[in-house]
């Protein structure tokens, strides 16, 4: 798709800009989807999910229904309860060192990723603004250059061309930063939130377990409904141990994935920045050579 755009020089700049924008957003979305699918595929349990298989294999249109009002309302209330509960639950100190450490880590990490994500967004937007300014400057120089065919006008035309080209590179820098940095941070913002949610669920089940224990003790003391209390306690215990086990694994995986993702994206970011800077440099230097040669 990119080659056809460079050929169409006569397209008004606005149309070209819109096309480039669309491409950039398309790239982003595709990348996000890819990451999501790979994650699901790598997960020991989720990969076996039937829905997942249908999604990957069914070769006709899936008719996916969005959430209706009722379901959206349910989600909203669930979130409310969760946040309120989360406050209560997070007050409980964990016996297990691993989880205690994870919790402290995740709370701080999540906040910092949030901040970094927001700042990265602002930075990439500024970059885009600069690229847009280059575009306007290129157009103004073009207008100056088409006044007549004197030397200075030819000069302006060449500089105008330079600005058009350098603008494309700057726009790509902005898009790549967005893709490799901003999106990475955004993703880990949500991942760290998901991890926090997991810890919350575990803490919730711990609280349930502890409550079940207390209920059992009380039942034994009163010698009333002991069997029921025992079963409840057992279920809670199992739930708790199961969630603790899987949570531990998930959190370890989270770290591994995080490190790998950051490594991949930071390396790619640096490589792309280098590529664009070198491209820009070459563009500028060859233009300067032409301009200096003429004067």
């Amino acid at each position: 798709m990119t080659t056809t755009f460079t050929e169409i020089k006569h397209l008004p700049t606005l149309a070209l800009l819109v096309c480039c924008e669309y491409l950039a957003i398309f790239k982003k979305t595709v990348a996000m989807h890819e990451v999501f699918l790979c994650r699901v595929a790598a997960h020991p349990i989720l990969r076996k999910d039937l829905n997942f298989h249908v999604f990957l294999e069914y070769n006709q249109d899936l008719s996916v229904r969005g959430k209706n009002k009722k379901e959206k309302l349910e989600d909203f209330f669930k979130n409310m309860v969760k946040s309120a509960d989360g406050v209560i639950v997070s007050g409980v100190k964990d016996v297990d060192d691993f989880f205690e450490h994870e919790r402290t880590f995740l709370v701080e990490y999540h906040n910092r990723v949030k901040d970094a994500s927001a700042k990265s967004d602002k930075m990439t937007r500024s970059h885009k603004n600069v690229a847009d300014d280059y575009n306007r400057i290129g157009s103004s120089l073009y207008a100056l250059g088409t006044q007549d065919s004197t030397d200075i006008c030819k000069f302006f035309l060449k500089v105008s061309e330079l600005f058009d080209k350098t603008r494309k590179i700057e726009a790509r820098v902005s898009a790549d930063e967005d893709l490799k940095l901003s999106d990475l941070l955004k993703y880990y913002l949500r991942e760290s939130q998901a991890a926090k949610d997991l810890l919350y669920r575990r803490s919730r089940s711990l609280v349930d377990y502890e409550n079940a224990n207390k209920a059992l003790d009380k039942a034994r003391a009163k010698n009333k409904d002991v069997l029921q209390a025992e079963t409840t306690q057992q279920i809670c215990c199992q739930k708790f141990e199961k969630i603790s086990e899987s949570a531990k694994q998930e959190l370890i995986d989270f770290k591994t994935r995080r490190v790998a993702a950051f490594r991949k994206n930071l390396v790619e970011l640096a490589e792309l920045e280098l590529k664009h800077a070198k491209g820009n440099l070459q563009l500028l230097q060859s233009c300067l050579a032409v301009l200096n040669g003429d004067t």
């Binding site: 910092r112 970094a116 103004s140 030397d151 280098l274 070198k278 440099l281």
Partner: protein, 503 residues
Amino acid sequence: MTHGNWFSANYFTFFFFLKQSSPSSPEPASLPAEDLSTNSNGPKPAEIMLDDDREDLFAEATEEVSLDSPERDPILSPEPTPAITPITPTTLVAPRMESKSVTAPVIFDRSREEIEEEANGDLFDIEINVSDPEKVGDGMNAYMAYRVTTKTSLSMFHKNEFSVKRRFSDFLGLHSKLATKYMHIGYIVPPAPEKSIVGMTKVKVGKEDSSSTEFVEKRRAALERYLQRTVKHPTLLQDPDLRQFLESSELPRAVNTQALSGAGILRMVNKAADAVNKMTIKMNESDAWFEEKQQQFENLDQQLRKLHASVEALVCHRKELSANTAAFAKSAAMLGNSEDHTALSRALSQLAEVEEKIDQLHQEQAFADFYVFSELLGDYIRLIAAVKGVFDHRMKCWQKWQDAQVTLQKKREAEAKLQLANKPDKLQQAKDEIKEWETKVQQGEKDFEQISKTIRKEVGRFEKERVKDFKTVIIEYLESLVQTQQQLIKYWEAFLPEAKAIA
């Protein structure tokens, strides 16, 4: 017109001016042999100007110091004029105030041409620097003094290198004098930097923040560019006021440059009057060149304004980018601190460092965006306003000529009537008046031709300068962009192995 004719026509003009002190004493032009020194017209010579020029006085009342004020004397340079005095070209084309000793006009004329050729051949050796802004005084009476250093090998100056302290109103005063002397005869006088009440008040009040430092730096750079442009003009370089500005340690204070002074208000009123006049003058342009050029300058003005607006937006956004990059760098550092995987933590800290360095780069680039590119465009927008002003003067000159013709016609008709009525005493007066107006018409035509000629030359010079300026500045700007990219490459190349080292 051959060279000789041109010369004699202007010589005639000059002497005519000096003889002409009031409408009632016309004298046929001749080539008197007397020495026209400043004393020949008395200690306080009347203003040398065209007559019926009451309105002219008002129209050009930008000059605050009249010949009658005692302040004038120090300005007239006391040193003896050398044989080949560079001053003369100004008198040949009758500027408002100057009346210096005229010895052998022929030599002057040649010397002027010589000096102009020198200018074209780039033997123009003069370099001006404006530096060391220094606050003098306190409170609302405080001002910034700038050091103006001149380095030159031109013989018209006393030394090869010298410096003086000047304040902003001194620069405005200089421009005012030059504009009054030269604009109405067709010379494009470079405009002085703009006043800024807000900016200066901050400085006066003593705010030592970055915005007032920026303001002072912006002004210093603008003053430097202003002087450099002015000395590049071969005719202006000859001007004694310019020389005095550059050389003498004490300069009479130009009080009338203040916006709210009497003269300042008069200026504003005149500007408004001028604008109205411009609308009412319908000139029969016989010379297509002028019409074409005016249109060209109009187009150029519009386009430069657009470009300037875009570049100003770029400066703004680049500064934002720098701020946002700095903010991100800090955030990334914090993230690195809380990351518990050691290698990733280190890489994030490195990323933060890279972004901090890049923020510096953006700041420097924004600096270049502004001082190299944006300010040049601003300067040229103001210069074009000066060019338009000169074209307007030509129109006024034409109008004057036309008015003189109309008056002459009226006088002729009046004389014819008197002839019929047979009133011999009044008849003589009428004949005298006709002679007077005939000369005025001739003068008007000559002035018009002269200003047209000067403008043609000035515009040619302006175009050449513009081309040179734009090429130099744009190339300088592109080189700043090159520098930035080279630095970016260095930084990212240093970071890449760090990123790869994450295990």
